[in-house]
């Protein structure tokens, strides 16, 4: 009987070095990661609230077909804003909940997240004023995301800042 070992320490084959010369600005950055069936992003930011905002920017970027960015959130271009109050059992689940809520708003109303002000962010609760561009704006999504998963989810401190990994179902 032949026996083959499995490498349980598979690494993502793309990292930040592959997305060019994106500068690490004060707000953070995001980039897509390889996944055979679906699609994920990794996010870096100097603070936890900035990480949540940058994760949402990353999801908008994925919907628009981008592969990575260190964007300036653009509240002034927003067509409308909305206060969101969310709860989850812990910090990781709260990040997923936040992205799910924004994805629902996108799917049901065609609105795309552009920026947010985090009014309150604890391990279990989030209050944010999120801004959106309207469907009439000259941006059209390139892909549909079915959901934000808990798979391979990570939210941790990294160096002086914060890091997250989120996998979407395409």
């Amino acid at each position: 009987m032949a026996s083959v070992g499995i490498d349980a320490t598979l690494q993502y084959s793309l990292g930040p070095q592959d997305i060019g010369e994106a500068m690490h600005d004060a707000r953070g950055r995001w980039w897509t990661i390889e996944h055979t069936g679906d699609l994920g992003i990794e996010v870096e930011a100097p603070s936890l609230p900035a990480l949540f905002v940058m994760g949402a920017c990353g999801m908008t970027g994925v919907l628009l077909g981008l592969e990575g960015d260190s964007p300036e959130p653009e509240p002034e271009s927003a067509a409308l804003s909305r206060e969101l109050v969310l709860e989850a059992p812990d910090r990781e689940a709260l990040l997923v909940e936040w992205l799910r809520e924004l994805l629902y708003i996108h799917a049901s109303e065609g609105l795309l997240f552009t920026a947010a002000e985090m009014v309150e962010l604890t391990d279990k609760e989030l209050v944010a004023r999120a801004s959106f561009s309207s469907p009439e704006d000259e941006v059209s999504p390139e892909r549909e995301l079915k959901g934000v998963t808990y798979h391979d989810l990570e939210l941790s401190r990294r160096g002086d800042g914060w890091f997250a990994r989120i996998v979407f179902d395409l």
């Binding site: 009987m1 629902y104 892909r143 808990y150 798979h151």
Partner: protein, 483 residues
Amino acid sequence: MAVEGYRLEKIDDHRWRIPRTGPMLTDGLVFADDELIPHIESDKSLQQVANVACLPGIQGPSIAMPDIHWGYGFPIGGVAAFDLEEGIISPGGVGYDINCGVRLLRTDLTARDLRPQLSKLMDRLYRKVPSGVGASRSDLKLSLHEVTRVLSNGAAWAVENGYGWAQDLERIEAGGALDGADPDQVSQRALERGRAQVGTLGSGNHFIEIGYVSEISDEEAAAALGLEMGTVTAFIHSGSRGLGYQVCDDYLKKMLQASEKYGIVLQDRQLCSAPLGSDEAKRYLGAMRGAANYAFCNRQMMAHRVRETFAEVLGQSAERLGMRLVYDVAHNIAKIETHRVNGVEKKVCVHRKGATRAFPPGHPEVPEAYRHVGQPIFIPGDMGRYSYVLVGTEGAYNETFGSTCHGAGRMMSRKQAKRTAKGRAIVRELEGRGILIRAASRATVDEEISEAYKDVKDVVQVVHRAGIGKIVAQLKPMGVLKG
């Protein structure tokens, strides 16, 4: 924490075992040959097979089909059955696109008859079936009450409203409506998302493919299914659209809480689940069945549009063109079914995520017209090569809870596929090979290039040789409508 230190052992030419280790409650069983195994090992899908083997009440092995690839939580191409008392149900074991599945129509036309009209047919289909990102209908927006009727009645709702033929229902898994759907368990958000999307294709890997029978391997079964050499066919691959995604989303959150409440240890939070006897499980089952019925209705309505389009373009009625439904089968679903476990017949909850039901000849759930040959199974390949029609077997019933593979299985991430397609005109390349593409987005076409997938022939040959499916016919594409 994921299972660590697992190994893969070859059992025979088409089977591999991941022996039970650490928190695993059972072995993993992988169907693959020496050529497919390196692809399968190149991502995290085997890790996911091992993780599923840790879930309480699992019956038999945690099974992986040869088209397995890395999903989220459960692998795509995974089958797992659970005891009704000690086992669990997991929305992650069904997926976001509840009852994503495939239906096949056949016609009396030959490829030669259709070729001169093909371009016109594809243009009309593109106009008639809403496709692409967030596709919704401007011509049909159901009331919330009507959506709940769709959730209860499935494909029958479409037939009652003039979309299709009464005899279609006999040729759909579960008659086009799963019993036990409970619209009260479906959130307002999900219902809202379902209002304007019934009869829409969506994006990603969903498609309508017009093709023809290019090879017959089993004359008797092909004849029973109405397939002859050259017969023109139409595949429809889609699911429950935003309504299904929302049901999954809503219940993942509830199941995360349920997992903690019932002390279920998770190797991956996406495997969150609830004991099958719990209130949470009953609610999810009721909602999931409703979403599955929405998907049956969705494919029924698109089939009606396909018939209408053929009739318009060819100037003959769909009846005259012999456009019978061959079958419609799910490949993302959880069902309570009776199977033999350790020699004893018992009811289990079978999760098929990227796996197709494959019931054998003689099974009462196989339509009478096919009972002597087995349940039809459709395994779409990529848009540039071919697809396969199979039938279910006793082997599948005995070894895989009546399940087999569902597709070619991705080999490249979408990012890799886009890089491979860069600088090429994929639509023109395919046109040069006689395959017309109509797509809402170029990005989707690039991400879905042939090279991104395994050769589906390699996949179906494994299930055929392993005895968990029997090849009946090969179909080649002539025109593909992509989201």
